[in-house]
C-alpha cells in the first residue's frame, strides 16, 4: 500500500464546551479519539496520514481550560492557555518570569498565538525518523533508526536512552519543572495531581509516549506554587535558527540565594533525553555553595555524568555542561562599546 502525505484524512470533529463533555467523548471513542489542543503537533500527524483517528476532540471551546487564575498558593494556568497569553501575562512576568522566558522562545509568534501550554508540554518528539513515519520502537516497531551505526542523530539523546534516543522538544517543560509546577490530570477515575517532573516519562517506562497521559486522560491545568515566585531565574535555549526551531538543548533554573550562597535551587534541562531532566544531583551539590563560576563549573561537570554520545551528538555534552554552568554561575555579558 503506497504512502501519501499532505492530505488530511476525514474525521469526525467534536467541539465540547466542558471538560466533562470532553471526557465523555474520549471515553466513548477510546483509542479512536484524538485530543486537539492548539493543533500544531496534531496536524502534522494527521496531514502526514500516519495517524488517522476517527474522532477528533477539539478542546479549544472549553473556556474553563483557558485562563490564568491566582490561587491561595500561587497560580493555576489552564491547559489551553496560549503561549502568547502566558508571555504577556503581567503576573507571570512579574513572579514566574522563567516560564514567560521559556514560552517566548517557542517556535514563532503565530505558533505562540495558537499553541497552548498544555500542548507544549504534551507534544510528541520530533525525531525525524519517528515523525517521518518509520516503524521505530516509538511507533510500535522493534528498531531505533537513529541509534544505528549510520543513523543521523545530531539532535538525539545523550542521557537515559533506552532503545529509543528521541528527545523531548518542549521549551516550557524545564521551566515548569524548575518552578516546581504541579500538573492536574483528569482521568476517568478522577483528578490526579502530579509533580511536573513526574508528568514526563522516558522510553524505559513507555517507549510510545513522552508523558503519563493514557487514552481518556486530559491535562487540564498547571499549578505553579509561590515557592519560587520572584526567585532568580535563568533560561536559555540553544537552537540552530532563531525562529521555528526546536531546542538543541535548553536549561531552566530557579534559585534563591542568601548573600552569595545558594540557598535553594531547582534546575532542569531538556533536549538531552526523552524527558526533561530535573538535575537533582546538581541541586544537592550546589546547595549552600557560593553562586559563582566555580560552582557552575562543578555543577556542569556533574550534570553530564553518565552521558553517552551518539555519532553526531557529542556536542550536546559540552553544551549541557555549559548551559548548566551558566544557569548556576551566570554568564558574563559582553558589551562592545563602539
Amino acid at each position: 500500500m503506497a504512502v501519501i502525505r499532505d492530505v488530511m484524512p476525514a474525521f469526525e470533529l467534536y467541539q465540547p464546551s466542558s471538560v466533562a463533555d470532553a471526557q465523555k467523548l474520549l471515553e466513548q471513542h477510546g483509542s479512536d479519539a484524538w485530543v486537539l489542543a492548539g493543533g500544531l503537533d496534531s496536524f502534522d500527524w494527521l496531514k502526514d496520514r500516519i495517524r488517522k483517528p476517527k474522532a477528533v476532540v477539539d478542546l479549544s471551546g472549553i473556556e474553563e481550560l483557558r485562563a490564568v487564575r491566582t490561587t491561595a498558593d500561587g497560580i493555576e494556568i489552564g491547559a489551553m492557555t496560549t503561549l502568547t497569553e502566558i508571555v504577556s501575562h503581567p503576573l507571570i512576568k512579574q513572579k514566574y518570569d522563567l516560564l514567560a522566558q521559556a514560552a517566548e522562545v517557542v517556535a514563532s509568534p503565530q505558533i505562540r498565538n495558537q499553541g497552548t501550554i498544555g500542548g507544549n508540554v504534551s507534544q510528541d518528539t520530533r525525531c525525524w525518523y519517528y515523525r517521518g513515519g518509520w516503524p521505530c520502537y516509538r511507533a510500535g516497531g522493534n528498531i531505533c533508526y537513529a541509534d544505528t551505526p549510520e543513523g543521523r542523530n545530531r539532535e538525539h539523546a545523550i542521557l537515559h536512552a533506552d532503545r529509543c534516543v528521541a528527545v523531548n522538544p518542549s521549551d516550557s517543560a524545564p521551566a515548569l519543572i524548575a518552578l516546581d509546577a504541579k500538573f492536574v490530570v483528569r482521568t476517568p477515575k478522577g483528578e490526579r495531581v502530579v509533580d511536573a517532573e513526574d508528568y514526563f516519562i522516558g522510553p524505559d517506562i513507555d517507549i510510545t509516549r513522552l508523558h503519563i497521559l493514557q487514552p481518556g486522560d486530559l491535562l487540564t491545568a498547571i499549578r505553579i506554587p509561590s515557592t519560587w515566585a520572584g526567585a532568580q531565574f535563568y533560561f536559555e535555549k540553544v537552537r540552530d535558527r532563531n525562529v521555528w526551531d526546536f531546542a538543541l538543548m535548553n536549561v531552566a533554573s530557579a534559585m534563591v540565594t542568601s548573600g552569595d550562597r545558594i540557598e535553594r535551587i531547582r534546575i532542569a534541562v531538556n533536549g538531552a533525553a526523552a524527558r526533561p531532566l530535573r538535575l537533582k544531583a546538581v541541586e544537592d551539590a550546589v546547595r549552600g555553595k557560593p553562586r559563582n563560576a566555580a560552582t557552575g563549573e562543578m555543577a556542569g561537570k556533574l550534570a553530564v555524568q553518565g552521558a553517552v554520545p551518539l555519532q553526531f551528538n557529542a556536542y550536546k555534552i559540552p553544551l549541557m555542561r555549559n548551559l548548566v554552568k551558566r544557569a548556576i554561575g551566570g554568564v558574563e555579558e559582553a558589551t562592545w562599546a563602539s
Binding site: 531505533c144 533508526y145 532503545r163 516519562i201 524505559d204 517506562i205 513507555d206
Partner: protein
C-alpha cells in the same frame, strides 16, 4: 485480528514486527484453562494411577530413605533458570499489559543469565549427567500408548513405572528446549538492538524481514513459555507431585514415592555404603554413575 503485527518499512515494504500482544492473554488463558481442566479431571474423573509390576523387596530394601535425584549444581541451575525465566516473562509481558517500569535492562540481564545457565546446563548434562535420562525412550512411548488406550476404555496392559523422569516431565523438557532455545537464540541477536555490555549495537545485522521473523519467533516462544511455566508451576504445586518438587529443592526423593512411581530397573540408584544422606558430593556421585548405567 492477525497473530502478527505488521509495519511498513521505510522502503514501503510490509514487514512483521512482532506478535500481536493479545496472544499473551491467549497463552495465559490457555494455560489457566489447562490447569483448571486438569485439576477437575484429577479431582473428579481420574482413576488412581496403575503401574505394572513392583520392585522386588530386595531391590526395595536397597533403596535408601532419601533417593538422590538432583545434584546441587543441577538444582542451582534449575532455580537460576527459573528465576531468570520468571524475570524474563514478567519483564517482557507486564509492560505489554499495562504495568510500566524500565524493563529492558532487567530483561536482557535475565536473558544473559538464562543463556549462560542453559549453556552450562547443556554442557553439564551432556558430560556430567545422565544425558539420555530426560529423553523419552522406547518404554515411555509404549507406555504412553498404553495409557491412551486405557484412557479411551480400550484394553491395554498397565504402563510400567517411570525411569528417573516421568514422561510428562520429559515432554515438558522437550517443549521447554524448543521454546527456550528459540527465545535464547533470537534473544541473543536481539541484544544487538539494545545497549548491552556485550556487543556494539547493530540493528542492521539482518534484513527487516529476518529481524521481523526473529521478533515473531521470540514472541511466540515467549507466550508459549507463559503457558508452559504456568503448567510447570501448577504441577510443581500439585500434592501428588510434591515429592518431585521437593527433590528439586532438597535433591532427594522419598523412597516410598520412588518405589511407587519409578522403576529401579530403569532408574538405578546405587546405595551409598554409609547412609541415606543426600550431601551434594554423594548425590553427585550417584548421578555420575547413573550415566554409565544408562549407557
Amino acid at each position: 485480528m492477525g497473530f502478527l503485527e505488521w509495519a511498513t518499512s521505510p522502503w514501503g515494504q510490509s514487514v512483521p514486527i512482532h506478535i500481536a500482544w493479545f496472544l499473551i492473554w491467549v497463552a495465559a488463558i490457555a494455560g489457566f484453562l489447562f490447569l483448571i481442566v486438569h485439576a477437575i479431571w484429577l479431582r473428579y474423573f481420574a482413576k488412581p494411577k496403575e503401574f505394572a509390576g513392583a520392585a522386588s523387596p530386595e531391590v526395595s530394601a536397597r533403596i535408601p530413605k532419601h533417593v538422590p535425584r538432583h545434584s546441587l549444581v543441577a538444582r542451582l541451575f534449575h532455580w537460576i533458570m527459573a528465576a531468570s525465566m520468571l524475570t524474563l516473562l514478567f519483564t517482557a509481558f507486564l509492560p505489554k499489559v499495562g504495568v510500566q517500569f524500565p524493563w529492558v535492562t532487567y530483561h536482557w540481564i535475565a536473558g544473559a543469565v538464562l543463556t549462560v545457565s542453559i549453556l552450562f546446563h547443556v554442557i553439564h548434562a551432556s558430560f556430567w549427567l545422565d544425558f539420555w535420562s530426560i529423553w523419552p525412550d522406547k518404554i515411555d512411548l509404549e507406555d504412553a500408548w498404553r495409557r491412551v488406550r486405557r484412557f479411551a476404555g480400550m484394553s491395554a496392559p498397565a504402563p510400567r513405572k517411570f525411569a528417573k523422569y516421568p514422561l510428562e516431565n520429559k515432554l515438558f523438557h522437550g517443549v521447554i528446549i524448543l521454546c527456550g532455545l528459540s527465545v535464547i537464540l533470537t534473544g541473543v541477536f536481539m541484544m544487538f538492538r539494545v545497549r548491552t555490555i556485550f556487543f556494539p549495537r547493530n540493528p542492521y545485522l539482518f534484513s527487516n524481514m529476518t529481524w521481523g521473523l526473529m521478533y515473531v519467533l521470540h514472541g511466540l516462544a515467549g507466550v508459549g513459555l507463559i503457558a508452559l511455566v504456568m503448567m510447570h508451576v501448577y504441577f510443581g504445586l500439585r500434592p501428588e507431585k510434591l515429592s518431585i518438587t521437593k527433590s528439586m529443592v532438597f535433591g532427594w526423593m522419598d523412597r516410598d514415592f520412588y518405589l511407587q512411581e519409578h522403576d529401579p530397573e530403569r532408574w538405578v540408584v546405587e546405595t551409598p555404603p554409609s547412609s541415606s544422606s543426600s550431601s551434594p558430593s554423594t548425590s553427585n556421585r550417584v548421578e555420575g554413575r547413573g550415566l554409565t548405567d544408562a549407557g
